[in-house]
Structure formats: C-alpha cells, structure tokens
C-alpha cells in the first residue's frame, strides 16, 4: 500500500498548488481553471483515502463525485460569464 501513500502526498501537493493559483490568480479565469483542477484532486483524494481505510462504499462516493463535478465545472463557466451564454 506504499503507492497509495505516495499518491496521497503527490495529489495533496497538486491541490496545494491549485489552491495557490485560486488565491493568487491574476484573472478570474485562472481562478476558475484552478478550481476545476482542485475538484479533480479532491475526487482522487476521496478514492485514495477510501482505499487506505478499506471502506466498501468508496466507489459509490467516487461515482457520485464524477457525476456532480461535471455540473460544478459548467456552473463555474456560467459564473465566469455572469450568466451570459
């Protein structure tokens, strides 16, 4: 299970980098893009922490997150254009 620990550390660093871009991004589009990457990182972290805890409902949560994350990206795009299509 050493690969799971290494993966948690690497994805945690990636989430920190994208959080830095959310905080410091010069334009609002940079913040939206970094927020999208932050969502993907959290889905990966859910999968890896569920495997590490040997939880049987891990893949159900990942399936729901993959279904809903699409809506979050679309709503970020709508919020970026202030509702203009």
């Amino acid at each position: 299970m050493i690969g799971v620990d290494v993966g948690i550390v690497i994805i945690g660093l990636a989430c920190l980098a994208s959080a830095y871009r959310v905080l410091r991004g010069p334009t609002q589009a940079d913040r939206a893009v970094a927020g999208d990457l932050l969502l993907f990182g959290f889905v990966g972290l859910i999968a890896l922490f569920g495997i590490r805890a040997a939880n049987e409902y891990t893949f159900d949560i990942v399936l729901v997150a993959a279904l809903v994350g699409f809506l979050s990206a679309l709503s970020l795009a709508r919020a970026l254009t202030r509702g203009k299509r």
């Binding site: 690969g3 990457l37 993907f40 890896l48 990942v62 993959a66 699409f70 970026l80």
Partner: protein
C-alpha cells in the same frame, strides 16, 4: 504482495504524477488558456488512472461495474466541463500572452472585438479566408 496489488500501486502513482504535471502547468504557465489546456488534458486521465489502480487494490464484481461507470462518465464529461470554462475564458476577454491574431473572433457569438485588442492592437492581424 501479489501481482494485482503491484499493478494497482504503480497505476495510482502514475495517475498522481499526471496530476502533478497538471498542477505544475497551473503554477508555471503564463496564460489562462495554457492553464485550461493543462487541466483539461491531465484531469481526465489522472482520475481514470487513480480509480483503476484503486480497483486493482479492492477487486470485486460490483466494484468493476462502478469503476466502469466512473471511467465512462468522467471521460465523457470532464473535457466538456473544461471546454465550457475555456469558452467562458474567451468570452470574458481574458488577456492572452504573445497575442498575434484572433481566429475565434468571427466564430464565437457575443465577442465581436478581439481578445486583448487594447494592449496590442497594432499587431492584430485578422485573417479572412473567404
């Protein structure tokens, strides 16, 4: 440690490294459009690799069905969401590094003026091919 566990660990670390390349692009690229490119390419493949490696560590028949659903749904939807953000980035006229010409000015509704025309309007070349 059997063979399936080793394959799962290697796949998980590979997916995490794909995420690390995406985060490096988000940190270091100079432009919002290049960051969209990094996230849209690596976000889809990274999740698929990590979930497939997690399946190799907890193999069972219901998990195979769920992981197949996750892979199909995520590969079909993540690129669409990222490209929606990219289109919103263009519509809000985000400044572009190394701006030469704007091929999308006639193709996108609602954006008649080129991106960043106030900063480098002299070098703006509009190519009309028809």
């Amino acid at each position: 440690m059997d063979l399936l566990s080793i394959v799962g660990n290697i796949t998980i670390v590979t997916g995490a490294l794909v995420f690390a390349t995406a985060a490096l692009g988000v940190l270091r690229f100079p432009d919002a459009y290049m960051r969209v490119s990094a996230v849209g390419t690596a976000g889809g493949v990274g999740i698929v690799l990590i979930v497939a490696g997690a399946l190799a560590l907890q193999p069972s028949i219901p998990n195979v069905v769920k992981v197949a659903l996750v892979v199909i749904v995520h590969l079909a939807s993540s690129a669409v969401g990222t490209m929606a953000i990219a289109r919103a980035t263009y519509i809000t006229r985000t400044p572009l590094e190394h701006f030469e010409f704007d091929e999308l000015a006639d193709a996108t509704p609602g954006s008649s003026t080129p991106v960043n025309s106030h900063r480098s309007g002299d070098r703006c070349e509009r190519h009309d091919y028809d």
